[in-house]
Each structure stands twice: as structure tokens, then as C-alpha cells.
Symmetry: C2
Subunit: 212 residues, 2 copies
DNA sequence: GTGCGATGTATCGGTCCGATACATCGCGGC
DNA sequence: GCCGCGATGTATCGGACCGATACATCGCAC
């Protein structure tokens, strides 16, 4: 999951670790707290080792002035490679069971703008199915096993059931929107010619991203 | 967290691993999918090693009839020890930072019936504070960084924000109930006379819950 | 001029998951 | 009679991710 998120973010712009973490937190803030460096750095190392990304130590031209004096540790900027982009496309298109758990779905959803519509639909429906199953499980417990559980546990289940029902409704809306060919909900009136930039494939349009 | 949950469940009745997992799933179904055996068995091993629980191989009296014939692997029933009960009480009363994340809060909440009111209040308020922080983070992103993000990511944040607001409201209600001395929501009319088997300590009065 | 919070890279131990393996039991179908 | 098959049951292993910790630099307020 982390691999997918890193590859996705680096596709928008090269970044160093700290920045990556901040962007990750901003993009995924809704589904997970904050990625740990204890996960981030080893993963970056791994991705670099297999060649999906490359590392370039930042030497801001003044580096030669003080070479060994303080041994300035420059920031390490990571850039995605062509192989990395391929890998990203492959990861984003294939949906395994882990695609539908809370974190997996969140990450996939966060990169829906780079996902083709058929895959988006498949993932939304898979997620809906999974949440419906969880919902049924909770209903069962609240129905059949209610007297075995104390009031607090029951309240927890009720709250969970409510969250499930709400998410299913949310997913229904998204699926309906998807089928009608529209973006999630008011994508922005003047995004570009209306909408034709929502997937990465065409090399020309590459990675349009605000860089003010 | 798993340690706390196991200790809590075994306080209700001795159980073997499989049963423990089922009960765990029923009790915590609202907050996490299903506990893995890859976590469960090693943890049981560990708890047994330090003496919080004891293991008793089930030999149902007929065991001696076919001793070495099929080498029947009996179910291993775990029982909580006095030290284990102490440990549970200690874990349930102390609230660290991990008490307020999704899983930690869920587990603590699931055992609120065995938690004194002051601690319940403290945990509910800590959780509320944490969710409020997450909510503010999402509002910031939706406000300040909205134009940097695509429509799908924004939709994800909106959904997350909605969930936060909803949970805060839920917590407010629970806190208000707690302060007024009532149980979460209709705890059952005859909790005292109707059923009093919900804790194991045969020794008189030990850790009482409701304060009617 | 000095402390202090933000920026920045990195490791280590520990928790938990997912896949996998293997054995028993009861039951329905053939 | 027996065969498969799903539920019950115990167990391990590699890997993902976290939380704590360490350490260094930078800019700025006091």
C-alpha cells in the first residue's frame, strides 16, 4: 500500500522523504493518521533497489564551498522512473482482496484521478460488497447475540453499523455518478476543457500539477 | 491491544483459541475485521509465559481409551490467573496515547462495563480531543489546499470529515450520559437483579461496574 | 547569542497480518 | 459403506507497518 502511495505521489513531482510524508498525510489524512518514517525510509530504499525510483542527493551548487567541513547532509530527492510508472499503472489496475480493506481502498480512491473508469467502478463495487458484509455481520450480532453483550459493546456495534450504512450510501452515490460518466461531485467547472485530463496515459499531458 | 482484549474475554470464561477468536470478532466486529491467528497464538504463548493465563489441555475423560492410537490433539483451554486479572485492571485503567487511536479506543470501549466511570470519562474525552484534531486537519486541507487536490481526493476528505463530525457528536452524547450517571443508552432495566453473572470474580464485590 | 521549533534522514524492536499447513469431526450425497 | 467438504482447531513464517529514539541543520524570536 505504501509502495502504491509513494509511486503515485512521485508521479506528480520529485520529492524528498519529509515532503513525501507531508503530502501523504494531506492526501490520506481521511483514512490514516500519518505515515511513519519507520515505514517510509525502508520502503524508499526498497523501491530504489528494484529500480522504481532513483535517488539524487541535493547539492545546491554551493556544496563545494564547504565539502568536508560540516559534511552537510543534503536532502535526498526521489524521482520515479519509467519502470516505476509502469509498476504504478499495474498496481492501480489490479484489485486484490487488500484493495477493499479500509486502508487499501482509501489509497486506491485517492488516486482515482489516475485510474480508468472501469477500474474505478470495479473497486467501488468491491468495496461496497465488503462493507455490506461487515454490515450484515453487525446486524447479526445486534440481532441474535444482543443479550450476550453488555450495553457498551452494543452501543459500539450500533455506531459501527451506522457507519457502514452511511458508507454504503456514499458508495452508491459514487457508483451512480461513475456510471453516468460524471466526476465524483462537482469536479470544478473549468478544470480544463471540461474533463479529459483524468488519467495519466497520454504522455503529452504528463503530470499536471500546480507548482506556483 | 490484543493482550488487553484476550485478558478481558478470558475474564468472562475460559476459552480455547478458536473460540477466543470468534468472541473477539463478535465483540470487536465494529472496529476491526477479524483477529489473525498469526497474532493470536503467539500472544497466547507470551501471556502464558509471563503468567497472566494458564493453559490446560482438554482431556474429556475418555482420553485414556485411545491414548496413543490417533494421538488426539485436544483443544487447549486458556484460563486467566489472578495476576492476569491484576494486569487487566492495570491496562484498562491507564490510558496512553495508543488508547485514543481507532483500534485502541475500540478495545477499551468494548470493556467499558469493566471500567470505572472516571476512567470511562477520561477515555471518551481523550478520544474526542483526538477526533477533533483530525477533523481540524481535514478542514484545513479542504480549506487551504483544496485547489491542489483532485476531485476524488477532495471527496475522500469530505467523507472523512463527515465521519469525524459524526463521531464527535456520538462521543458528546456518551460523555453527557456518563456525567449524568446513566449507562450508554438504555442499559437494560433490571441489570442488578436480572443478571449478575457478567464478571468472574467469585470473591465478593471485587471490581463493581454500574453505580446505580 | 542562544534556545527552540520546524525541517530532515535514519534505525530498531515490536505488533499484527495474510498465507499456509495440517489434523479432526460431522453430515449429506452417491 | 465411503467420500468429499465445510466447520472446527492449532500452529508457523515472512513481511508490512508503527512508535520511540537518535542526531543534525536552519531560521527566527527573545
Amino acid at each position: 500500500m505504501l509502495e502504491l502511495a509513494i509511486l503515485g505521489l512521485l508521479q506528480e513531482a520529485p520529492m524528498h522523504g519529509y515532503e513525501l510524508r507531508k503530502e501523504l498525510t494531506a492526501k490520506l489524512g481521511a483514512i490514516r493518521a500519518a505515515i511513519s518514517y519507520g515505514s517510509l525510509y525502508p520502503t524508499l530504499r526498497r523501491l530504489q533497489a528494484v529500480g522504481w525510483i532513483t535517488e539524487a542527493a541535493e547539492t545546491p551548487a554551493t556544496a563545494e564551498e564547504v565539502p568536508a567541513l560540516t559534511s552537510r547532509r543534503g536532502r535526498v530527492v526521489y524521482t520515479i522512473t519509467a519502470e516505476g510508472k509502469e509498476r504504478f499503472a499495474q498496481l492501480i489496475a489490479q484489485a486484490g482482496p487488500e484493495t477493499y480493506d479500509d486502508t487499501g481502498f482509501g489509497v486506491h480512491f485517492a488516486f482515482f484521478a489516475r485510474t480508468d473508469q472501469a477500474t474505478r467502478l470495479r473497486i467501488l463495487e468491491g468495496r461496497r460488497r465488503k462493507i455490506e458484509e461487515r454490515r450484515e455481520g453487525l446486524r447479526d450480532v445486534l440481532g441474535r447475540a444482543a443479550e450476550r453483550l453488555d450495553a457498551y459493546t452494543l452501543e459500539l456495534q450500533r455506531h459501527g453499523l451506522d457507519a457502514c450504512e452511511r458508507e454504503v450510501r456514499w458508495l452508491e452515490e459514487l457508483i451512480a455518478n461513475e456510471r453516468s460518466g460524471r466526476a465524483p461531485t462537482v469536479p470544478e467547472p473549468g478544470t480544463a476543457g471540461g474533463r479529459r485530463d483524468d488519467n495519466s496515459p497520454p504522455p503529452p499531458g504528463e503530470s499536471r500539477k500546480e507548482r506556483p
